[in-house]
């Protein structure tokens, strides 16, 4: 048995981060780094704590999550559906897989002015783009999930004389579910990243807008605090989705 979460490693990570912060603090204090560019960690932390309980901040978090959830809803329903159909029709699946994979690897976020033109500067533009972002991995993983169901399992199903519906419900779906979940998690992560990035660029909505606004106010404290919060929330979010996936897959 491998001990995965060995405490020394955690301690080392903590020490590493602390050391970096202290070094940064020192570098700023002795003037190695200009105070105008980088905020002192000792001043940043209270600022972050103040912003964290701020009502406006919580509203912005709510908006980002709302947009992410809406986009995810679309991406998961449509993505799983299309993925399933692409598996059912092998010909279409084989033909579309590389197209979708190509799109997935392309800079979709650069299309945002088009979304702005079509939907206006509204959260709808962000949701629509987020949905496109997220739907691609869901499609790819769903198709793969069904295609990866072992032939033996299908033979077992055939030998049991199950109806098509039961075959789907009791054999296919449970076998494909883990991989589909991976796709959903990836989709969700991509949506969050896309939503925050879009919010920042077009300055509407939640967390991304927070950073954009603080950057305009020329207040270094607030800017760094905003960025720290967004990074922290993204990291927490990714961590939690990973945990959920692990729990569900087990």
């Amino acid at each position: 048995m491998k001990r995965r979460k060995a405490p020394p490693l955690y301690l080392a990570r903590l020490l590493l981060v602390l050391t970096l912060l202290i070094l940064l603090e020192l570098a700023i204090r002795i003037g190695l780094i200009n105070r105008f560019f980088v905020v002192l960690p000792s001043e940043l932390i209270p600022q972050v704590l103040r912003d964290l309980v701020d009502r406006e901040f919580l509203t912005l978090v709510g908006i980002t999550f709302y947009e992410t959830a809406a986009a995810f809803l679309f991406a998961s329903v449509v993505g799983v559906g299309i993925g399933y159909l692409l598996w059912r029709s092998r010909r279409l699946g084989v033909a579309y897989e590389p197209l979708i994979a190509g799109l997935f690897a392309s800079p979709i976020i650069l299309l945002y002015p088009i979304f702005l033109v079509i939907f206006g500067r509204t959260p709808l533009a962000i949701i629509a783009q987020g949905a496109i972002f997220g739907v691609l991995p869901v499609i790819l993983f769903t198709r793969q999930a069904f295609a990866g169901v072992s032939p033996t399992l299908l033979k077992v199903a055939a030998s049991m004389n199950l109806s098509t519906r039961d075959r789907f419900r009791y054999i296919l779906l449970p076998a494909a579910a883990p991989t589909i979940f991976t796709g959903l998690r990836l989709g969700l992560t991509y949506i969050l990243i896309g939503v925050v990035a879009m919010e920042y660029i077009v300055q509407i909505g939640g967390l991304g807008k927070l950073v954009a606004e603080t950057s305009l106010r020329l207040s270094t404290d607030e800017l760094y605090s905003g960025i720290t919060l967004v990074v922290a929330i993204s990291v927490l979010f990714i961590y939690l989705t990973q945990r959920v996936e692990n729990a569900v897959r087990r």
Partner: protein
Amino acid sequence: MNQSLKIQLGTIILVLALWEVLGRSGLILREIFPPFSEVMTSLVELLASNDMWLHIIVSAYEIGWGFAIGCALALLVGAPLGTSDYLYRLFDPLFYYLGAIPKIILLPIFILTLGVGVESKIGIAALSAFFPIAVNTALAVREVKPIFVRAARSLGASRGQIYSKIYLPSTFGAVLSGMRLGLGVAITGALLAETSVAQAGLGFRAIEFYAQFRVAEMYALIFLIFIFALLLNAALARLIQWTNRYQIGGDGRAPFS
């Protein structure tokens, strides 16, 4: 012609035709959704115009430098991480989570420190490229089998020769995969940053068209960027396939953008 190709081409033609018909039908405002033919006309005009090349050069400059800096840093950091199990496990979660955040929100810091010119875009591009390359490099070095190093040593390889004749060739494909991902996100990062605050560059030009409501030109430019990125990505994928031709399924781990 094989069937998949037929379906693919058919789909693309269908989508473009639909675009054209929808654009002409008047169901959607033409100002919002110009037909494909109009976009193509704009594209030709765009490519013929003089200042277009200025923007292309500015963007290429940012992406080139950003990618080069990101690459160099990633190799310097990634390779040593791969050689030590402890260091790798120490840093892996850090890289995993930091690599996943939307890096564009760090743009204000780059603007604060490097200004609104090309330098801040280079910074974003470098930062974006850094993570996938570093992660893939560390992973590739980690996966070099110790038996290869033992065999090379017993055949008389010096330390330097072990690096150049074992580590380099056996990590090459995976590092290249990382570079492909890195270049992709560097392009995205730089152009996205240009749309936010800039004085020149393709992203800047696209958002300028948007502000001036020259929609057909905006579509044309975005279309051009998109196709270019898609082709570049596909070409690099081919190249990587070729370098990995001796092994079965040799692709790096794909982290987030």
